[in-house]
Symmetry: C2
DNA sequence: CTGAAAGCGCTAACAA
DNA sequence: TTGTTAGCGCTTTCAG
């Protein structure tokens, strides 16, 4: 920095001002400084800068699993909102293991980022509490309401409601749901399904499953052996739904002619022509944006917690059709 | 830190030693310090630490696109190797835009991470040169050999060779390749295909395409209208191959009975039961590990550039079968 | 707009 | 095994 100042023939303080885009620098000096910096290959040292200024202008994002498009789209939303606010984004991942999540959060905490967005961690309530105490925190897809931190969640139950509404409007009455136990979001989806069915005077068929292809395959196998197999299957997520499709195809059941299939999440899979799955779309980027906005509010002082529920919407493709009771 | 020292009744230097896991601290003092730190909720400030020590113990990863499993698996490999070496990993993304890649790299450069792994950026040769000059750098899936930086690449051409070998061993002779223009890796795949075909005295059929589903769909449509349609189609990647599958299915062509289909990448798509695509697997985690190892070598002083080519392997599933010239 | 001076929270010799 | 003393590279006062 001294070198730059010398080369530009100005004081070090001025260089600092220029580097921080201060408005009170003459265009002339600014140009000289920028030129000198360029020539010398100078770039400000973020560590020193943050240390001195006491803030980092950076928000940290901790994602449980980078392979899951859910999280990467979330991060994309965060990045967009952060860019708009002139903040940088740093990502760490727990690589699907809880121990990894702890070190990933620690890295961020040690970095003293101005705030942290946590994507569906497996942390206990206490751990979350502890994190939120150290820095502004907002959790996405975490279904507990703490006073110390904000949350942004999908209205899972409403998604299930949309599915049931769609299927019943097509005339289906024997509708089965393959759930995903206690995985994040699964209980809400199941609950929404049961409520929506009951409300319509229909008997909810629920089958234990999981958020993966195998679970869908297995469940479909069982369901189709019932005396009165369902005419529509609502899987816990898209991956599970592809398992259902694979099984139905293997036993010669036509989709949607014989059985309708619905997924949840609207991942890239669902859109593939070869699958063309009706599914529930979540505005994942929006989650990231809202999370970031909440975080920025917190950073600038809000103290009361906010908990947002975001509405999903149904995407109709060719895996669902009118009931066919032949 | 002073507070911790005071509370533990020791000097600040001792606290520093404990925080850095120095072996030359008595168990007694260590316990006291740790206890005090815990009570006070103290955690070392990474900025200050790195500033003072002149090194960050962190490696940066810049990924062009987080949605692409290729990159996230790459990052996973980096994380694994870094963890083994006791280093932290910070990820930034360019969100598919070149301008984003620039700011992402700048963030990392300003952070002064000990080194950077760059995943398939769209940077020009000059930009790469400039980056490599500022910090140890290794590029993955970048097919130019610079002296200033290491590279790790998939042996794309060999993957194509494996495909041709597989198909010809099944009796196929009319094999078409849907390529992806000049997208990263595509020219090498195309070249490998042409060489392998020519070597066997077969005429290579190449159709212009891209790395997406639509391209595959479109190309398949054209190819099947030829007087002598191919009996096997080798798409540039899995996504393109799903487009092929979707079209073939829509016109009632059976796979693999009538036409065999092969992808490239072995993404999660290929493994789905509903698609079950024969494809070329790349050990993406290994890419990340090797990249990190190369980086660590650079960090500890190696100056000569290394360029590694990693061998892919064929994964046979049910989208390929013996030729059927009925 | 400049120049000087203090200090952010820590590490790294060196002494004790 | 511990304490002392300088900084690391920057920002931020503050008076000029």
């Amino acid at each position: 920095m001294d070198d730059v100042a010398a080369k530009a023939g100005v004081s070090r303080a001025l260089v600092s001002l220029v580097m921080r885009d201060s408005p009170r620098v003459s265009d002339n000096s600014r140009a000289k400084v920028l030129q000198a910096a360029q020539d010398l290959g100078y770039r400000p040292n973020a560590w020193a800068r943050n240390l001195a200024s006491g803030q980092t202008n950076t928000i940290g994002v901790m994602l449980n699993d980078l392979h899951n498009p859910y999280f990467t789209e979330l991060a994309e939303g965060v990045a967009a909102a952060a860019a708009e606010a002139g903040m940088e984004v740093l990502i760490t991942s727990g690589w699907q293991r809880e121990s990894g999540e702890h070190t990933a959060i620690d890295t961020l905490l040690n970095l003293r980022t101005d705030g942290i967005v946590v994507g569906a961690a497996r942390f206990s309530s206490e751990v979350f509490e502890e994190i939120a105490q150290q820095t502004p925190t907002v959790a996405v897809a975490y279904f507990h309401e703490h006073d110390s931190m904000d949350t942004v969640c999908n209205h899972e139950a409403h998604g299930s409601e949309l599915v049931v509404e769609h299927l019943t409007s097509l005339g289906h009455t024997r509708i089965a749901h393959i759930d995903a136990g206690n995985a994040p979001g699964a209980p809400e989806r199941r609950r929404g399904f049961m409520t929506a069915m009951t409300l319509r005077g229909l008997a909810p068929i629920v089958f234990d499953g999981d958020f993966n292809e195998h679970a869908g395959h297995h469940a479909a196998e069982q369901l189709m052996q019932l005396n009165e197999p369902p005419t529509a299957i609502f899987a816990a997520n898209d991956l599970s739904a592809t398992g259902v499709l694979a099984h139905l195809r293997s036993i010669g059941v036509r989709v949607p002619d014989d059985v309708s299939v619905v997924g949840y999440d609207d991942t890239v899979l669902a859109g593939l022509g070869a699958l063309s799955l009706t599914t529930v779309h979540q505005p994942r980027q929006l989650f990231g944006q809202r999370a970031t906005e909440l975080l920025l509010e917190r950073i600038s002082g809000r103290s009361a917690a906010k908990h947002e529920l975001i509405e999903p919407r149904l995407v109709t493709r060719s895996s669902t059709g009118p009931v066919n009771e032949s």
